[in-house]
Symmetry: C2
Subunit: 140 residues, 2 copies
Amino acid sequence: MEKQKFKEFLLTKDLKLTKERNEILSEVLDMKTHFDPEELFIRLKTKGSKVSRASVYRTIPLLIESGFIEEVERIDRHAHYERVSTDKHHDHLICTKCGKVIEFYSPTLEMLQDEICQKEDFKGIRHSLEIFGYCEKCKG
Amino acid sequence: MEKQKFKEFLLTKDLKLTKERNEILSEVLDMKTHFDPEELFIRLKTKGSKVSRASVYRTIPLLIESGFIEEVERIDRHAHYERVSTDKHHDHLICTKCGKVIEFYSPTLEMLQDEICQKEDFKGIRHSLEIFGYCEKCKG
DNA sequence: GATGCAATTGATATTAATTTGCAATAGAGG
DNA sequence: CCTCTATTGCAAATTAATATCAATTGCATC
């Protein structure tokens, strides 16, 4: 289970799965779309949690390092994260007019990563492709 | 010539090619690698320019809009830009250990953008692919 | 070259996101 | 229960970037 995975990760770093970190993880696991730290904090608050903003900010790097979330973009001076999908990696189409984000998966791209890395003598771990342009509504 | 291109762009927006904007453009054209606003500001300073940080920040969006530079990444909470190469678009391999950035160009990827956009009913303008991993020195 | 006026500038204050210092608290192991 | 760190919340600090504003400049027109 996810909780266990996080706990184990924390142990390897001599850290503890505290109530706060636990609450933050739960909330993140619930998150269906992209989110930013403030949003996460507000959600926790409204659910009655007492975690501080500082703890949210402090926990995010841990969640990234343990593979639960990743930073997907920077909009308007603040970071956005998303739950790393358990099933499949995906990339993003971003509408520069309305801000809409469309997710897509391309097997060709996945293969391409390996190909490029081999040519450049690089050990690729992950990638992020963002295609900017206009969505169906905005491309008018 | 580049200067002229920028001047024309500015004219379309009722803006002027001032000494400051001119100096900033020159410096940017000289830039061989990635840079951030502070770096750009320091370089201008050391060359005796009197431009203010504010002007640097104010000019960057103009240089982006006129196609001279583009934002390539966010490292450590601040934006990095690079000169848009006159010849060819490229993407990046980023070593997460030492920070080295390798540029590459993949025609397959360029075609892939069109393919993906068509499928998703999106009008793609540009893209940015970052592959994270370890460079030849760090992959040990 | 002087004049008028909007665009531009530098200096400084401001904002917003994120980080950090610190005293108080809480868990794990004895 | 006791000790020892890790952890927390709060508030202050930091940082990149933006906005304010009075003074200046560029340029078209006289």
